[in-house]
Symmetry: C2
Subunit: 414 residues, 2 copies
């Protein structure tokens, strides 16, 4: 009996170590390429500002691609449902999301890139699983592996990437079966990316006060504010989607009108700061403690207008930007270090829109270092409790009530 058990344990370990290494290398490589592509198009966009006016054209190309060859592509939601049920991510999703995210960033749409990474990784890993004839249950695990490896290579945050894949699908349930494969794949992917010259995202928090009754209470206020902002973010995304669907039924017209709105708002604001993922706004908020008061609001509006018009990329990096700029404003208002408030705001809004508290805490460690730990804990846990059942992904479920210790298993509100 013990012999059999040892055989099963060792066999399982060796199999998943091997698969994790393969997935880590393959999706890590794809994600590294993706990272360089995004850097390239962003640099080009900055050097050639006129290209922003081509946003409607890029939109048309993206919609055309998805209408013609990507009809069955359900985006990030589909990847999430693949983890939980018998669904599939078509292999075609990988090049589609790669190209359309690059085009979105080339023309300066306000969009992230983690959604792209998740789809890229999920799609490649799913295909790998099909080729080697993994059964249904193992395919769930390999898809999580691919998600986390691609995320990890792009951001240089292996720990948060691995836990995100385990945590995001069903909030309150941790798919620990995939813990080891995801961790190993993430570590390998991030090492691979770092070796190829992708620098991990990290920001230097300049001023971390001591935790006291005063600073702690101020952080509670910042965190409640972040929870409200994350609800607003979800509501605005949803409202814009509703308006588009009501008034602009044709996807081609929708993307052109959406792009024109983005151009109009941007010209009014006279800044290119909100284009792309907004990493510079995050850096400014965290590292200098400075930001425009309504930056968070404009980022929300421009992201909703861009993403819901049909552009691709993801909403998470914009949510980072919204959180960091809002936190920074709150810090300046309350007289608490705006730098740590920006860092906490980023983690807290991320937690509010994804309902992934552990990932939020870990991402703060990996991006900002470990020193501000007490503040990250306060910000993330309060934001989780106060952000209700809103979320970015309609295929995410919240398994246990946020208010009572009981089973609810409800879908998030998008």
């Amino acid at each position: 009996y013990y012999g059999q058990e040892i055989k099963r344990d060792v066999g399982n370990l060796v199999k998943w170590l091997f698969l994790a290494v393969v997935v880590g290398c393959v999706t890590g490589a794809a994600s590294t390429l993706f990272s360089f592509a995004l850097k390239g198009v962003t640099a080009y966009r900055k050097a050639n500002e006129w290209i922003f006016l081509l946003l409607p054209v890029m939109g048309l190309i993206i919609v055309f691609l998805y209408e013609k060859i990507g009809k069955e592509d359900g985006g990030t939601n589909q990847v999430l449902s693949t983890v939980r049920s018998q669904d599939d991510v078509p292999l075609l999703s990988a090049p589609l999301i790669f190209i359309s995210t690059a085009l979105t960033h080339l023309a300066g749409g306000s969009a992230g890139r983690e959604g792209a990474a998740i789809q890229l990784g999920g799609s490649i890993a799913n295909q790998l699983g099909r080729w080697i004839h993994l059964d249904e249950e193992d395919r769930h695990v390999i898809v999580m592996c691919g998600m986390s490896a691609a995320f990890s290579a792009l951001f240089g945050t292996p720990m948060a990437a691995a836990v995100f894949a385990l945590e995001v699908v069903s909030v309150g349930v941790m798919y620990y079966t995939a813990l080891m494969p995801c961790m190993i794949a993430s570590l390998i992917a991030s090492q691979f990316a770092a070796g190829m010259g992708v620098t991990p995202e990290s920001f230097h928090v300049v001023d971390i006060p001591a935790l006291s009754l005063e600073t702690g209470l101020k952080m509670v206020i910042v965190a409640v504010g972040c929870a409200v902002v994350s609800i607003i973010f979800c509501m605005v995304l949803n409202a814009v989607a509703g308006l588009y669907a009501k008034w602009l039924k044709n996807p081609y017209i929708r993307v052109v009108v959406g792009a024109c709105l983005v151009i109009a708002v941007t010209l009014l604001l006279r800044t290119d700061e909100y284009m792309g993922s907004g990493a510079e706004l995050i850096a400014k908020a965290v590292e200098t403690g400075q930001t425009d008061t309504f930056a968070f609001l404009w980022k929300i509006i421009l992201t909703a207008l861009t993403m819901r018009a049909g552009f691709r990329g993801g909403e998470i990096v914009p949510s980072f930007c919204v959180g960091a700029t809002f936190g920074c404003v709150m810090g300046n208002l309350l007289g608490l270090s705006p730098s740590i408030c920006a860092a906490c705001g980023m983690a807290a809004v991320f937690c509010g829109v994804t309902n992934c508290p552990i990932t939020s805490i870990l991402i703060a460690f990996e991006m900002f270092g470990f020193r501000g730990v007490s503040f990250y804990l306060i910000a993330v846990s309060i934001s989780y409790a106060a952000s209700g059942y809103y979320g970015l992904y309609k295929n995410q479920t919240i398994v246990y009530s946020k208010y009572k210790a009981k089973y609810v298993n409800r879908h998030t509100r998008v």
Copy 2:
């Protein structure tokens, strides 16, 4: 509709912030007192070595106390079941575990103190919940709050303490309803304890190599070894319990014979290093990279002989000691920094016996710092996958299979 929702959100937030502060202060204070008591008795034991020979007498007192007034006390397992079902921790548990753990440490039994902290915090918080007439579901949350606050005050690791309470009862399920209350209570308890002069447990890892193919693979081997050691630890505890139950049915005789065995083994080994929690062995292994080759084995045997004879305290800190000393030996064998191997061994064996990977990673950060993160991730995730369904707590369930992505919901093997 929105008005109602906002009211519910705000009400819930304020209620739990308030309760968390109360629980954090009350159990934090009790746990601080407990910490000083343990320090006092340990210092006395070191100054007066003869007291070790009174171990059988202390055992008799402990058994007498539990036979007379603690019949309904189920120890840590009962606290765990209170979180999940309609169970109760009697208030009497708090003073009982306080006194009996102090007596165990006074006479140099090989035992920990986290089990005591969990029972102390769980019992006090449960009573608080009863006094203010919390309903069933809220009482689960407040018990988790108490567990984490007491753990946090004792070890100075608020993050790991909070996540441990959420994670340990049902592995694979995170009781996020309690996230905010537990985090806040833990932070307050640890600040309280630190303010009273309890120094947080932390060890300085002296040599952290870069992650490469070679160091990574060596760490995989160390982690597999740790998983095996954690299985052996659980099996030895169980085997000793079985032998005691078979040959020594009378609890008074059992505790006297057990104590005499502990004395005999200790006299044979001619060292007092294995007495108490073994924190000095951990410090030596992590900070100097040195340890006796079979230290881990003796610690396992002495802990099993002590704890299963009827002494109190807990098995977790001994498991830290077992992991650190074993990791150190493996590091010296493999030519990988014994210091980082000791730190990883501690986290990996803790993960193996408690099946709590996130807590294990966080505890490594809080005790050893963030720098060795890649190694902690490898060690903990491999140990989780390779340690099978063994565990310290018979009331713990593993909700998802470790081998296939499916629901199993089975009890751990003790």
